[in-house]
Amino acid sequence: MNVLIVEDEKSLANEIAAFLRSENFLCDLSYTGMDASEKIAINLYDFVLLDLGLPDYNGIDLINEARKAGSEASFIIITARGAVEDKVKGLDIGADDYLAKPFALIELLSRINAVARRKFRITVQEVPLGDFIMQTESRKLFCKGNEVELTKKEYDLLWYLVLNRNKVLTRHQLYEHIWGNILDDQYDSNFIDVHIKNLRKKLNAHSATPWLETVRGVGYRVSTD
């Protein structure tokens, strides 16, 4: 998929690009609004990651221009202005999602994937995990036909690990995804550990979970083949 990264902070743009390229995206970079405006007019993008705080251009104008020109790109807004009002505004003006700086790269990837799934109506019905099967529509987990009762948080945690399978997720990344920014200050690495512990206990009662790994000193990972 083609992604245009519009971000005036060059080193941040480059890091995002490096990450997305490693995830097999094709990335273009614009450090200015003018440049982005031209690139959107000429090329077809699936995604535009747009920093609202561009020095030379109002990011919202850029979206309007693109929509008028018939572009079907999905816009994901990146901003250091994390205020609620901005969030509402951002979604009102036709952006597909919104991320406050600083964000986790894997969170960005999950958002892109989520928008893509919505856009292309890709629905993954079932995800196999060893002896377990995750049913995404009903948000349920089964083991050999028996339902494993999970709390909402436990399901979300597992689903996020599964979405980012084969990657190590740090506790903070998991926390941020599940609890969001509003409780940022209350972050406690113990939270995630407790939830994983409970999750493991529930899963292990049904079957072994070698695919749910603890990476010492770093975080957790779901490994699948």
Partner: protein, 440 residues
């Protein structure tokens, strides 16, 4: 506390009453003096008339020269009398006195004028009397009239005084009303108070100027906080992406990921610190909407659901006691959630294994209360004082949080007009009280 207006009116009334009382004490005496003088004048006039009569007609019509008669005349009600008699004395008599006279077997007190004069070598004594009963009657009448008049005057002046001071103090009233309930300088109504009183004008100007200055300072401070936060978040963002990419690249060195994660952790602390400061600045500058109407009990249940796994893991007993629910109107649900969550989370953190945390909600004096109590390590008085300040409240260094959570809770509470208080005792535990305002 009493209003200035009332105090002034009270003083006015009091001073009037004192003067009136003094007046009333001296009034009988004054009236008597005036009356007596009036009566005396009357008597002298009557004497002159009698003397004139005698001068014209001679003494005979009254007293014949050879008889030893006494001439006396009084009116039917015995209010006045005139008597003439011969006397044998060399002294000239001319005085007025109060004396009792017996008239038709009735003793009556009169004001009596005694006057002696010579007619044909014979000395006569003229007495002209006027009953004091009539004087006293007049005095009573006058006293009553004056009393009614005084009461009326007091009432009328009291009313006009009240009205006038009210009018006079209206600018002051307006100034004090403008200041009342102003929690933030930007809420201050800056329109000038119209007045012709110089003192009020100066006062109003001084206050308005002061408010303007404070407001500007506040604004500047908030602006700086917001700007600095933005500036800080960008480099944090860059660093974070770099470190995350490094972590994902799966370096062969076994120790590398751990070190990167440690750096990320430090960076997260910086990030959450900046975000917290930013959040406080935003709440203080009212960048959050207050449009939610929700049940506080639902919020409490959600919070407990979130924290229960942690409490269970630490073997802390969490109990909830809801006496009544409260629908909080025009508030920000996410912020209220965060406000209580911070405190509950803190309580669980600061309570050792086997301890207990109790969340209660109830109404007290028409106001909705939420309390969070623990039997944890508690705090000293100093710690309680510094609890809500932004960087002093760090109880346990080395934890993941930034220690700014309670400052955030306080800011959110202030934003919603919720009052927060804490009672704590070392080694016994801590209780937080949130007292919600009544919905307007």
């Amino acid at each position: 506390m009493i209003k200035l207006k009332i105090k002034l009116a009270f003083f006015n009334l009091l001073s009037k009453l004192v003067f009136t009382a003094l007046f009333l004490i001296f009034l009988p005496y004054i009236i008597e003096r005036i009356n007596l003088r009036q009566v005396d004048n009357d008597l002298v006039q009557k004497r002159e008339q009698v003397i004139d009569l005698i001068a014209g007609a001679g003494i005979d019509p009254f007293i014949s020269a050879d008889s030893s008669d006494v001439f006396g005349s009084f009116n039917i009600l015995k209010e006045e009398f005139i008597s003439l008699e011969r006397i044998e004395t060399d002294e000239d008599i001319n005085h007025i006195e109060v004396a009792v006279r017996l008239i038709e077997d009735e003793e009556i007190t009169y004001r009596v004028l005694n006057y002696s004069f010579l007619v044909d070598g014979q000395k006569y004594l003229l007495e002209v009397g006027k009953s004091l009963a009539s004087i006293q009657y007049a005095r009573r009448n006058i006293t009553r009239v004056i009393l009614i008049f005084l009461v009326l005057i007091i009432l009328i002046t009291l009313l006009t005084d009240l009205q006038y001071t009210h009018l006079l103090l209206r600018p002051l009233d307006r100034i004090s009303r403008k200041l009342k309930g102003i929690s933030r300088p930007e809420l201050f109504d800056r329109t000038e108070v119209r007045t012709t009183t110089t003192d009020f004008h100066n006062l109003d100007n001084a206050i308005r100027e002061l408010m303007e200055n404070i407001d500007q300072l506040f604004r500047k401070e908030k602006e700086i906080t917001v700007n600095i936060s933005h500036e800080l978040l960008t480099p944090v963002s860059v660093l974070r992406s770099k470190l995350e990419n490094l972590l994902l690249s799966g370096n062969a060195d076994a120790e590398m990921p751990e070190k990167i994660e440690e750096s990320l952790k430090t960076l997260h602390r910086l990030q959450s610190l900046v975000n917290s400061l930013l959040m406080i600045a935003r709440i203080e500058s009212h960048q959050y909407l207050r449009e939610d109407n929700f049940s506080v009990q639902d919020v409490l249940k959600e919070i407990i659901e979130e924290i229960r796994p942690i409490a269970d893991d630490k073997e802390i007993l969490m109990t909830e006691e809801y006496l009544r629910d409260f629908q909080f109107m025009q508030a920000n649900r996410a912020l209220i959630f965060s406000m209580i969550y911070n405190v509950v989370n803190n309580a669980v953190k600061n309570t050792p294994a086997g301890g207990a945390v109790v969340i209660r909600s109830y109404f007290h004096q028409q106001k909705f209360n939420v309390t969070i109590s623990d039997n944890g390590r508690g705090m000293t008085r100093e710690q309680v004082v510094n609890l809500f300040s932004r960087f002093k409240s760090r109880v346990n260094p080395g934890e993941d949080g930034t220690g700014i959570g309670l400052a955030i809770s306080k800011t959110i509470a202030d934003f919603h007009g919720i009052s927060v208080s804490v009672t704590s005792e070392p080694e016994k535990g801590t209780t937080f009280f949130f007292i919600f305002p009544e919905n307007s």
